[in-house]
C-alpha cells in the first residue's frame, strides 16, 4: 500500500473542514429558524387570543371605538407576555390609534405601512425593525367589514441572545469537528508512513488500517455530533420552555374562567378537542394533561406514556431524557383546583429536520 502523500492529506483535511462548516452552518440555520418560529408563534398566539377576545366583545354589540373592555384586554396580554412591548388598536377608517398600552399614544396616527398591510383578514402582517418586530391583524365586525387593526410590538432582544449563543455553539463545534477530521487525516498519513516502513505483510497492514479508520471515524463523529445536537437543543430550550409555559397559562386561564362561570371542573365538554387543537398547532408538544388537585388525570391528549419511564429497581416513574414538562395550576376563586401539565419533546427540531 502506498502511503498517503502530505498534499493529499492537506486536501482531505480542507475538504473535511468545508463539509463540517457547511453541515454545522445548516444546523445553525435550522435551529435558528426553529427558535424564531417558537418565539413568533408565541407572540402570534397571544395576538390571536387578544384578537378573538376583541371580536367577541364587538359581537356582543359595541363598535370598535366604543369598546369598553379593549384596554383591559390589551393590558392583560401585555403583562403576561414578557417580550411584548406594546399592543394597540387603530381605526381602519381614520387610521388613528384608538387604544394603546403605551401612555400618550392614543389619538396619534398609525404608521402608513401598517394601514396598508393590515387589510387581509386571513393573514398576520409582520414588519421587522432593528431591535423589534411588529405583528398585526385586522379586526372584523360581525359582517366581515375591516373596522380596525390590532397591532403588537415585541422586542427581538431575547431572540438575539439565543442567536448569539447559537453562533458560538456553531463556531465551537465547527472547529472541534474540523480539528477531529484534520487530525484523523494526519493520523492516517503518519500511520501509513509508519506501516510502510515497519510492517512487511500487506494484508495485515490493510486490515489494521481499515479497522482503525472505520472505528475512529465513527466514534469521533458520533460523540461530536451528539454533543453538538445537545448543545443546540440546549440553546432553544429557553424559548421552548417560555412558549410551553405560556400555553399552559392560557389553558389554565380558560379552565379557571369556565369553572368561575359555573362549569364543574370535571364536566368540561369537549376539552380534549380543544387540547388536541393546541397540540396539533404546536408540534413540539407531546402531551397535555389536566389533573385535579390530587393529580388524578381528568383530561388527556397526546401520548404521555411515551415521555415517561419506570425505574426497573424502584418502580418510580420519571420523565425520560429529552423531554420537558411544564406545570401550571388551575385557579378558581383564588384557590387551586387542579393542574395543567404539558410535555414537550426537546429534540423535536432534530427529529423533524434530520
Amino acid at each position: 500500500m502506498r502511503s498517503m502523500s502530505l498534499s493529499h492529506t492537506i486536501l482531505a483535511s480542507l475538504f473535511w473542514c468545508a463539509v463540517v462548516f457547511a453541515f454545522t452552518g445548516m444546523n445553525f440555520m435550522k435551529y435558528e429558524e426553529a427558535s424564531h418560529t417558537l418565539r413568533e408563534s408565541r407572540i402570534e398566539t397571544a395576538l390571536t387570543d387578544m384578537h378573538k377576545a376583541l371580536q367577541v366583545e364587538m359581537d356582543k354589540g359595541e363598535a370598535l371605538p366604543g369598546l369598553k373592555t379593549a384596554e383591559k384586554i390589551l393590558l392583560n396580554y401585555t403583562r403576561s407576555e414578557r417580550d411584548l412591548l406594546s399592543a394597540m388598536i387603530f381605526s381602519a377608517n381614520t387610521g388613528k390609534i384608538l387604544f394603546s398600552t403605551l401612555v400618550g399614544q392614543t389619538g396619534q396616527s398609525a404608521p402608513v405601512s401598517w394601514r396598508q398591510k393590515c387589510v387581509r383578514s386571513d393573514t398576520v402582517f409582520i414588519e421587522k425593525e432593528k431591535d423589534k418586530e411588529t405583528m398585526g391583524m385586522p379586526l372584523l365586525n360581525a359582517f366581515s367589514e375591516n373596522t380596525g387593526c390590532l397591532v403588537a410590538q415585541y422586542t427581538t432582544e431575547s431572540g438575539e441572545v439565543v442567536r448569539e449563543k447559537m453562533i458560538k455553539t456553531t463556531f465551537h463545534y465547527s472547529v472541534r469537528l474540523a480539528a477531529i477530521g484534520a487530525g484523523f487525516c494526519f493520523f492516517i498519513y503518519f500511520f501509513g508512513f509508519l506501516v510502510a516502513t515497519t510492517f512487511q505483510n500487506k494484508k495485515i497492514q490493510l486490515a489494521i488500517a481499515f479497522v482503525l479508520c472505520q472505528g475512529l471515524l465513527l466514534l469521533a463523529l458520533y460523540f461530536s455530533f451528539v454533543s453538538m445536537f445537545k448543545a443546540f437543543d440546549e440553546n432553544i430550550k429557553q424559548e421552548m420552555s417560555t412558549k410551553t409555559q405560556q400555553i399552559a397559562e392560557q389553558i389554565s386561564a380558560r379552565l379557571g374562567q369556565a369553572v368561575q362561570n359555573g362549569v364543574p371542573f370535571d364536566s368540561i365538554t369537549a376539552l380534549e378537542t380543544y387540547l388536541d387543537q393546541i397540540r396539533q398547532k404546536n408540534k413540539e408538544i407531546l402531551f397535555i394533561l389536566v389533573t385535579d388537585k390530587t393529580g388524578r388525570v381528568l383530561y388527556e391528549t397526546g401520548s404521555a406514556a411515551e415521555a415517561f419511564e419506570a425505574d426497573p429497581y424502584t418502580g418510580k416513574i420519571s420523565l425520560r431524557e429529552g423531554y420537558y414538562n411544564a406545570a401550571e395550576p388551575v385557579n378558581s376563586a383564588n384557590a387551586a383546583i387542579g393542574w395543567v401539565q404539558i410535555g414537550v419533546n426537546e429534540r423535536f427540531v432534530r427529529e423533524k429536520g434530520f
Binding site: D59, G61, E62, N93, N141, A142, E145, R254, Q260, G262
Partner: protein, 333 residues
C-alpha cells in the same frame, strides 16, 4: 367704525352658515324609540363623517301615526326611508302585492330587525327583491341555529310547540321539516290547540311539553312565535322539570326566562349593517334592489349558566370561549 360694521355684517350672516342643510336626509321610522339597532345605525353613519341628517319618527308601538308619516315623507322627499321592525315596515312599505304597496316615488327603502321579509310579503326573495328596498334581518338562519345547537346538545329528537295561526311560526316549522331529513333528526311537532273562539290555548303548553318528554326529545326549540314566546315561561319551566333543555331563536327567552341558549345577532350589529347598506345607497354605489337582504355573518352564542347548571348541560369549551355567558351562578352554590 368700518371695522364694527364689518363685524356686525359677519355676525348677521353667521346664522346662515349655521343653518346650512345637510347634504342628504334619512327618514327613520322607529317602532318603540331609538334602541340598540337604531343606535348602531346612527353610530355607523356618524363614523363615516358624511353629511347626513337622520330624521327620526317614533310610532310608540301604535300604527295610527302611519298616514301622517307617509304624508311627511312625500313632502320632505328624503334620500332614504329606513324602518325598524316587521310591523312598522309592513305598514310603511306595504307588502309585495300591488294593492298595498306604498308609493314614495323614487325614494329607496331600507328595513332592519325584520325576521322573515319573504314570508311577511315584503319582498319576493332575499336577493331579487322585486322592489327598490333592501334590509337587514336579525335572526340567525335556522340551519345555522341547528348546526350550532348540535354542538351544544347532540340531539336526535327535536321538539317544537307552536301556534299554527302565526305565519312566522308555521314557516319555521316548515323549514324544520326540511332540515330534519337533511340533518337526520326526528322532529316532533306540537301545534297549540285552538279554543272555540279561535284563540290558541296557552294552558295546554305544560301538557304538550309533557307529551314531548314522553317521546324522549333531547331538545325543544322555541322559534320565532309571538304567542308561544309570550307564554314561554310555562314551556321552559315544564321542560326544565323534565330535564329537557330549551334553545331559543331570540335572546329574551335566555336572558329573562332560563332557556338554555340561543344564537343571535345583537341589535347594535344589525343596526351597523343597516348603516353600511344605507351608505352604499346614499353614496350611489348601488341601488337598494341590487343590495341583497341579509343578516350579519357572525352569530353570538348566549348561554344561561344557571339553566346550564340546573340541567347539567354545558356547551363545549371552544364555544364557551366565544359566548356571552349570562345569569352566572354565584360560586357559593
Amino acid at each position: 367704525m368700518k371695522k364694527v360694521f364689518s363685524l356686525l355684517l359677519f355676525l348677521a350672516c353667521f346664522p346662515f352658515f349655521q343653518a346650512k342643510a345637510a347634504e342628504q336626509k334619512v327618514y327613520f321610522v322607529l317602532w318603540n324609540g331609538c334602541e340598540e339597532a337604531c343606535r348602531g345605525f346612527s353610530d355607523y353613519l356618524k363614523a363615516s363623517h358624511e353629511d347626513i341628517e337622520i330624521i327620526q319618527r317614533n310610532l310608540d308601538k301604535k300604527t295610527d301615526k302611519i298616514p301622517e308619516l307617509k304624508a311627511e315623507i312625500r313632502k320632505k322627499s328624503p334620500d332614504l326611508l329606513v324602518t325598524w321592525g316587521t310591523l312598522a315596515t309592513v305598514e310603511m312599505l306595504g307588502t309585495n302585492n300591488s294593492e298595498s304597496v306604498a308609493d314614495y316615488g323614487a325614494i329607496p327603502a331600507l328595513f332592519m330587525v325584520v325576521s322573515q321579509p319573504v314570508e311577511s310579503g315584503l319582498v319576493s326573495s332575499l336577493s331579487a327583491q322585486g322592489r327598490n328596498i333592501t334590509g337587514v334581518m336579525h335572526l340567525v338562519p335556522l340551519v345555522e341555529q341547528l348546526q350550532y345547537a348540535r354542538q351544544v346538545v347532540a340531539f336526535r329528537r327535536l321538539g317544537i310547540i307552536y301556534n299554527p295561526a302565526e305565519t312566522n311560526a308555521q314557516a319555521a316549522v316548515d323549514k324544520l321539516r326540511q332540515y330534519a331529513s337533511l340533518m337526520k333528526f326526528d322532529l316532533l311537532e306540537k301545534p297549540l290547540p285552538v279554543s272555540k273562539d279561535n284563540y290558541p290555548q296557552k294552558e295546554k303548553i305544560p301538557s304538550l311539553v309533557a307529551e314531548l318528554a314522553d317521546k324522549k326529545v333531547d331538545l325543544i326549540y322555541l322559534g320565532p312565535d309571538a304567542f308561544v314566546n309570550a307564554h314561554r315561561k310555562a314551556l321552559i319551566d315544564t321542560a326544565a322539570a323534565f330535564s329537557i333543555p330549551v334553545f331559543s331563536a331570540s335572546e329574551g327567552a335566555v336572558r329573562h326566562d332560563n332557556a338554555l341558549f340561543s344564537f343571535v345577532h345583537r341589535y347594535y350589529t344589525v343596526g351597523q349593517l343597516a348603516g353600511k347598506k344605507a351608505l352604499e345607497i346614499l353614496k350611489g354605489k348601488a341601488q337598494a334592489y341590487d343590495i341583497p337582504i341579509e343578516a350579519p355573518q357572525r352569530a353570538l352564542l348566549v348561554v344561561n349558566m344557571t339553566a346550564a347548571q340546573k340541567l347539567g348541560v354545558y356547551p363545549p369549551l371552544t364555544l364557551l370561549q366565544h359566548a356571552d355567558l349570562i345569569n352566572i351562578p354565584s360560586s357559593e352554590n
